[in-house]
């Protein structure tokens, strides 16, 4: 019985939690609708097991150096007992739009810590071409070094991990595919892939499938959160989502 319990705990710890932010399009072209639909989920992307997500404390869009809250347009999405969220934003003109969310920290009893994934995805409108490599000022953030909205499946992606605006040397980056295709991993180790950044916080990942990819650089935050009189550490995640397309 003890062995069985240990196996279950070990197996579940291999599934990585990911906060998501995904848009219906990553490139807005002239003639297409300027309305962008945004969805927010707390999930295990490869396994497609979602968890409840509370309404975040902050979510918005960053463009032209300014943040605009999208919380007023937030709508709850229920799938059975699981809650996720969606919002909508109307693009105003040519620019790069970074959609982000800072969720309510989630308490993981098995790991005795809070998980807070500051997450973003990047959209280009009308060929703006500038601003996708700019940080938006999240405490933990991945800044893309490859233009994130024009990658083919098979391309190499590179990014830099920042904490309080400074590169994180040797940061560990977990990578998962948002697996809506029902792909099976050869074994549990392939569900979440792990990469190490260099001394400048820069990492490189090849993306073999068409679809959404999530990158989560996890680090210990310098703040703790109290729960029932006890202080718990916070796993702060810098998370980035991007979509690759097939070359046809």
């Amino acid at each position: 019985m003890k062995i069985l319990l240990t196996s279950i705990v070990c197996a579940s710890s291999l599934l990585a939690h990911f906060q998501t932010v995904m848009t219906d399009r990553s490139v807005i072209e002239q003639g297409s609708s300027p309305k962008v639909a945004v969805q927010y989920e707390f999930t295990h992307p490869f396994e497609q097991n979602s968890m409840n997500m509370e309404k975040p404390k902050e979510a918005g869009v960053f463009t032209e150096g300014k943040k605009t809250s999208l919380l007023p347009s937030f709508q709850e999405v229920k799938k059975g007992a699981i809650t996720s969220w969606k919002s909508e934003y109307t693009i105003k003109g040519p620019s790069v739009y970074q959609f982000y969310v800072d969720p309510i920290p989630y308490f993981e009893p098995a790991e005795e810590k809070f998980i807070r994934h500051q997450t973003k995805t990047i959209v280009d409108a009308f060929g703006s071409g500038e601003g996708w490599d700019k940080p938006i000022g999240l405490k933990a953030e991945i800044v893309p070094l490859s233009r994130p909205y024009s990658l083919y499946a098979g391309n190499l992606f590179s990014g830099q991990v920042l904490y309080k605006g400074k590169p994180v040397a040797n940061a560990e980056v977990e990578v998962e595919f948002y697996n809506t295709k029902g792909l099976k991993a050869p074994n549990e180790m392939y569900v979440t892939q792990v990469y190490k950044a260099d001394k400048n916080g820069v990492f490189y990942v090849a993306l073999p499938q068409e679809g959404w990819w999530g990158f989560a650089a996890l680090m210990d935050d310098d703040e703790k959160i109290k729960k029932e009189g006890k202080s718990y550490p916070v796993e702060l995640g810098a998370v980035l989502w991007l979509k690759t397309e097939a070359m046809k």
């Binding site: 002239q30 003639g31 003109g93 040519p94 060929g127 071409g129 500038e130 601003g131």
Partner: protein, 140 residues
């Protein structure tokens, strides 16, 4: 030699960057066009042509130094072409959002139902009030 090579590289890279982008929208019967290579690099004094379905020129004008231009909508649907010289151009088929609404607002045959109803309501109220004031003393 080094200078020539460097110049070639610069020229080559600038050619790669010469993809023209176009952003257009309309509001209250006015068409707004913005053209650029990247957001901070406008297509200055570029030629903008509006063509109808038969490729006939409806309007020809230039962008300003910010790559922007504004003209009255010539029709509800047309093609916008921006030319930046050296064979670089972009085009899009444009369907105006405010053209037909503006037309509808100015059509003389339009019946202003809302104003007519308001006028009718005022007349009914006036005569109702008159009837009530005239009727009151006879009951006293």
């Amino acid at each position: 030699m080094l200078r020539i090579s460097l110049l070639s590289v610069l020229l080559f890279s600038s050619v790669w960057a010469h993809k023209i982008n176009l952003f257009a929208y309309d509001e209250a019967g006015q068409l707004y066009v913005q053209s650029y290579f990247t957001q901070s690099s406008p297509c200055k004094q570029c030629v903008v042509k509006l063509l109808d379905a038969n490729q006939k020129e409806l309007l020809v004008f230039n962008t300003d130094d910010e790559g922007k231009a504004s003209v009255k909508l010539p029709s509800a649907e047309f093609t916008i072409i921006v030319e930046a010289g050296m064979g670089h151009q972009t085009q899009t088929n444009y369907v105006a959002q405010s053209h037909t609404k503006e037309e509808a607002k100015t059509l003389p045959s339009d019946t202003p139902w809302d104003k007519m109803l308001l006028g009718l309501a005022i007349i009914v109220f006036f005569f109702g009030a008159l009837y009530w004031t005239k009727r009151k003393p006879s009951h006293a």
